[in-house]
Symmetry: C2
Subunit: 262 residues, 2 copies
């Protein structure tokens, strides 16, 4: 088998992958970048639609080396690249030599009809990609139904978000919604809205929800808007015993989620 | 009041602060760098020993502007710097114009004598500064007794760790220990050792500990060594319902901690 190896960082395929690091490129191509054996392994396991793959033999090792042949044999184009070319498309400090352009697939909020006791997680204007990805990972781990990014959140498909999901991005249905839409959706589907708040709510272990629930997690800097806290059916607050005012947003969300998901 | 404003990035005081970004500088000076109104506000509230302060008037705004006079009036030297000089010492992308060199104060493990039902958190070879800082923040929030970094962990006083603690670094007693030491300490003080494990443990809501406890959290990549899991008195495992294999180490630790701290 003879392989043509792309070496120029200006090659069109290198530029295509690299463009997916930015919102504009992701919008234009309807795709996002996922790198490394762990993420790509999850994409393959989930039969996620892949638009193209890139492999750099010089960088391969361990799990990435085992995975690379599956990328070469797929129904998508697979470009072989030199270390120089691959380095130019990668968003990683130490690239593993495998990357895919995965379809940027969201579900419409209206398609989510949660069943009894299913939990959906809504994040409100979360701005840190690592936090967003961590919440996706945690929600998927605890078997949540879906996740909704509400208002001006960071992108689910930012490379840092995708990395922090550890592959959960390929398993958990993800939706976008405007603030009004999400509350209307909850009413329509008889979903209990539970707001995670910094004060004034019940301890999460005392909350038991029999109907489908939507857990709302606020932004790092401002939490949830007060009108949303007020509009929620329930408010949960983690009891503070120490001196620091608050928890990291992803941590606070994860803890509330772990209680509600029981 | 006439102020001498340092402008050169090569000035000795600028170099002193900048050196605290690196382990070598922190070791040499027994100090660490903390920046921004939130962190420094917590340091002042905790009456933490401060070796020196730096202020850049041009960068001040909001809470940092309110805090700056307290830095100028303290018993420590306070250096006024231009934007150029301050930028050279700062580890932040958008520096707020206030920084301190805080004493790098740890407590000896032997000084920790936990009382009934007090929880101490031990992290085992945690390598990500953000994760370590997040665990410090969470442990302090839930009123833990102290935190112990076991084996080859990232530094409590790395600027990224300090930032992720959101100031908890100034409130929670922090100790270092070798693997053997920490288990010997637990035996000596009648402390129940609880290992957070990826499988095979009890769900954390079923665990109730009346004696003082030590929660051990493993590294991001490898968890806890199997001999440590085996040596623990109890093992707790968060029940997985989804497809991703594991949670982020800081999140898993935080959830276990929230249950044990009740």
């Amino acid at each position: 088998m003879s392989l043509e190896v792309i070496d120029s960082p200006r090659n069109q395929h290198v530029r295509f992958f690299r463009s997916l690091q930015r919102p504009k490129g992701r919008r234009e191509h309807g795709a996002f970048l996922a790198e490394g054996a762990r993420l790509i392994g999850e994409a393959l396991q989930a039969h996620w639609p892949i638009k193209a793959a890139a492999v750099c033999e010089e960088l391969l090792g361990g799990a990435a080396a085992e995975l690379a042949p599956r990328l070469s044999q797929g129904p998508w184009p697979c470009w072989h690249m030199s270390e120089r070319a691959f380095g130019a498309l990668s968003a990683e400090e130490t690239p593993q030599g495998v990357a895919i352009a995965a379809e940027a697939r969201l579900v419409p909020l209206s398609s989510l009809s949660p069943q009894t006791s299913e939990l959906t997680v809504g994040v409100w204007e979360l701005r840190d990609p690592g936090n967003l990805g961590t919440v996706v990972r945690t929600a998927e781990f605890f078997g949540c139904r879906a996740m909704v990014a509400i208002g001006d959140c960071v992108d689910f498909f930012d490379p840092k978000t995708v990395r922090a999901t550890a592959g959960a991005v390929f398993h958990l249905p993800l939706a976008l919604a405007a603030p009004d839409e999400v509350l209307a959706w909850a009413r329509e589907h008889d979903v209990v809205v539970v707001a995670a708040t910094a004060s004034g709510g019940e301890p999460p272990e005392q909350v038991s929800v029999q109907r489908p629930a939507l857990l709302l997690i606020g932004s790092e800097a401002h939490g949830l808007p007060s009108e949303v806290e007020a509009a929620a059916d329930l408010r949960v607050t983690l009891p503070r015993r120490g001196k620091v005012e608050s928890l990291n947003a992803a941590v606070a969300g994860a803890i509330c989620l772990s209680y509600l998901a029981r």
